[in-house]
């Protein structure tokens, strides 16, 4: 049935909500759609809110309308929708419509589920929930001349063919990542505080001061709001991280060239953090982790990058460091814990695919730091996590 399209879209990760689905129904009910081509574009305009999801939409569209290539077949499909005569075509009164509009999402969800439940039980009644606007787009032509026209002229090419072209493949955000896109994602990292010169009028204070001044105007200024986010980036380099070197350096340059942070610090480590971290990728210039924890305030947003893949001993044992000469007195996990406890906002970005996160060390680290995949989507989620108030 037609509602399945909604779920096919959801399955393909197009974030469609009930609100949008209802809007589409409204558009259908209003008779704004003449043929499959128009349906393709209009449904896209209403349901998809970012060009990064256009490709997902194309894939979903193909899946749902698969095998329907010629206009004739589309007509048949549409006819099929129309075949079931609608008994429950009650028209909503304007009051009811208004009520419907006011329902919040949860109620709508419930309502939808309820009606969907009816739909499986009683096939021909299945269309009635879409009749929100009081008329249904799926009416018989006699009932609803404004509905989908059967056998209407179709455009130069069929919608399914447009979907097959998948012209928006390059816009997907779960595949490609470049520095600019990462910068975009990092822009989300902001926290506005009042700093800098006093250039904003403080109205309340001005009124008070003026009143106190017997009506002679006294202007009081305050500081305007600026971004005060400080970022600490700790990156795992070498060994199993080598395949991801390019990705990591992209993230680094994105963070480094983002001018809107108040402070940006970065250090390197290998596999796990022990007594020291390093200022350079060759791991020659040491900085003691202790010093780091003492000098950096807890409000630094901490981004750890690494695959967290290591032998359990590296994490759990004294002298467990992969580098023999490191001789760590405390096991790596203790250091990790200290770091996690010190910084109120921290995330771990893992360049490995999430399906490979089964290793014990990865799971352990994942318990200490919220872990996200190093993709644009993951970075976006991580940034969201970093700005929420309670770490």
């Amino acid at each position: 049935m037609f509602t399945d399209f909604f779920y096919v879209l959801r399955k393909h990760k197009v974030p469609v909500s009930i609100t949008e689905w209802m809007t589409l129904m409204e558009a259908l009910a209003g008779g704004h759609i003449n043929n499959m081509d128009e349906f393709y574009f209009l449904a896209r305009a209403i349901l998809v809110k970012s060009e990064t999801h256009y490709d997902h939409y194309d894939v979903a569209f193909q899946e749902y309308f698969k095998g329907i290539e010629t206009p004739d077949e589309i007509t048949e499909q549409v006819l099929e929708w129309l075949q079931s005569p609608m008994r429950n075509r009650e028209l909503l009164s304007p009051e009811e419509q208004a009520l419907f509009d006011k329902m919040d999402l949860e109620e709508l969800m419930k309502e939808l589920e309820k009606r969907l439940g009816e739909q499986t039980g009683q096939h021909d009644g299945g269309h009635h929930w879409v009749g929100r606007g009081g008329t249904s787009p799926f009416g018989h032509s006699g009932y609803h001349p404004g509905g989908i026209r059967i056998g209407g002229q179709s455009g130069g090419r069929s919608a399914i063919k447009i979907a097959q072209e998948r012209r928006f493949q390059n816009y997907r955000d779960d595949l490609t990542l470049d520095v600019r896109q990462m910068k975009m994602a990092l822009r989300g990292l902001r926290q506005l505080n009042r700093t800098g010169p006093e250039d904003e009028l403080d109205l309340e204070e001005t009124i008070d001061a003026t009143a106190g001044n017997a009506g002679e105007i006294e202007l009081v200024w305050e500081r305007s709001r600026k971004n005060t986010v400080k970022v600490l980036l700790l990156m795992d380099v070498g060994g199993s991280m080598s395949p991801f070197a390019r990705l990591c350096s992209q993230l680094f340059s994105a963070a480094h060239s983002s001018s809107h942070f108040k402070d940006f610090r970065y250090y390197y480590f290998h596999n796990c953090i022990y007594d020291d971290v390093y200022q350079d990728m060759e791991r020659q210039e040491k900085v003691s982790t202790d010093l780091l924890l003492r000098t950096l305030e807890p409000d630094y947003k901490l981004l750890l990058v690494g695959d967290a893949a290591m032998a359990p001993s590296e994490l759990m044992e004294r002298y467990g460091a992969i580098n023999y000469y490191q001789r760590n007195e405390s096991p790596g996990v203790v250091w990790m814990k200290r770091i996690a406890e010190h910084f109120t906002h921290s995330v771990w970005m893992n360049p490995e695919e999430p399906r490979l996160w089964g290793q014990p060390s990865v799971r352990l680290i994942g318990k200490l730091f919220p872990m996200f995949p190093l993709t644009l989507e993951g970075l976006g989620q991580a940034v969201k996590r970093l700005v929420v108030k309670s770490g």
Binding site: P15, H32, G146
Partner: protein
């Protein structure tokens, strides 16, 4: 059969649209929802609103959003300082707060006696919270002024066009209420039409050569700013004014500065693609 009132927007004489875009505009008008337009710079996002206003013969109200813009400014401003100031002299009626309430762009669009086209330009420039702050106002098309206890309700729902350069992620709640369209960079065929609108008596030979050069320039990934439609229009204007014959276009790329605006891009192109023959720079043969 379509509703007669649906096909309102058919494009205007000076603005070429694709059919999906026209449909998106019309459905947003019919459903009374804001139309969110995204696309590369120079694809005519802002021009669209102007074109809609012209085609529907409605007034256009433009609200340019800047990084400091607050949602409140679009609704109304309460000029307290003026009121305080006036209170000292007593020559104006300070008791009536209404004199000091100035409606913003949104407020004016709501109170206009006729339906207007409202353009909220570059919505992503402002603070991340900005679109969320406007949710209710755009949804219900009304807002309340606590100072005067007045509620401003839209007399006619304005046709709302919102443009975004995708500099910031827009909030989901905001997106859910919009109709979205992404303007792709026009392909050569559509571009021919667009250029044709600007230069009705351009020689086809010149246009063809110019477009060929233009699209091959756009394929160079190393550019920091790829030339866009507005650069192309400027360039063609320069070519016509300079009376350049179309053989020279592909050979020398005259007036390259109108196409490549960044010095680094310009240098990159000259160093990698051109060579000096006598006094002139010509495209290197490959």
């Amino acid at each position: 059969m379509k509703n007669a009132s649906f096909d309102q927007f058919k494009g205007s004489a000076d603005y070429v649209t694709s059919e999906p875009l026209r449909n998106a505009v019309n459905v947003s008008i019919a459903l009374g929802r804001p139309l969110l337009i995204r696309g590369e710079p120079g694809t005519g996002k802002t021009m669209l609103a102007r074109s809609i206003a012209k085609a529907l013969e409605k007034k256009l109200i433009t609200w340019h959003v800047k990084s400091t813009t607050k949602a409140q400014e679009g609704l109304y401003l309460y000029d307290t300082v003026q009121r305080l100031n006036d209170s000292r002299f007593g020559d104006k009626d300070v008791a009536d707060i209404k004199h000091y309430i100035k409606l913003g762009k949104l407020g004016r669009a709501f109170t206009a006696p006729e339906q207007v086209v409202l353009l909220i330009d570059e919505v992503d420039k402002a603070d991340i919270e900005f679109p969320n702050d406007l949710l209710n106002e755009l949804d219900e098309m009304s807002f309340h002024i606590p100072e005067t206890n007045e509620t401003i309700t839209a007399i006619h729902r304005p046709v709302t066009v919102i443009t975004s350069n995708a500099e910031k992620e827009l909030p989901d709640a905001f997106l859910r209420r919009c109709i979205f369209h992404y303007i792709e960079f026009p392909d050569a065929k559509l571009m021919e039409e667009i250029v044709g609108v600007h230069f009705p008596d351009l020689k086809p030979g010149l246009l063809k050569e110019a477009l060929k050069v233009f699209y091959s320039l756009r394929e160079i990934e190393e550019f920091r700013k790829k030339p866009s439609t507005s650069e192309l229009i400027d360039w063609i204007r320069a070519l016509m004014a300079g009376g350049i014959s179309h053989d020279d276009i592909a050979k020398e790329v005259p007036f390259m500065g109108t196409l490549l605006k960044k010095e680094t891009d310009y240098d990159y192109f000259v160093n990698n693609y051109m060579t000096r023959v006598g006094d002139t720079l010509v495209i290197r043969r490959r």
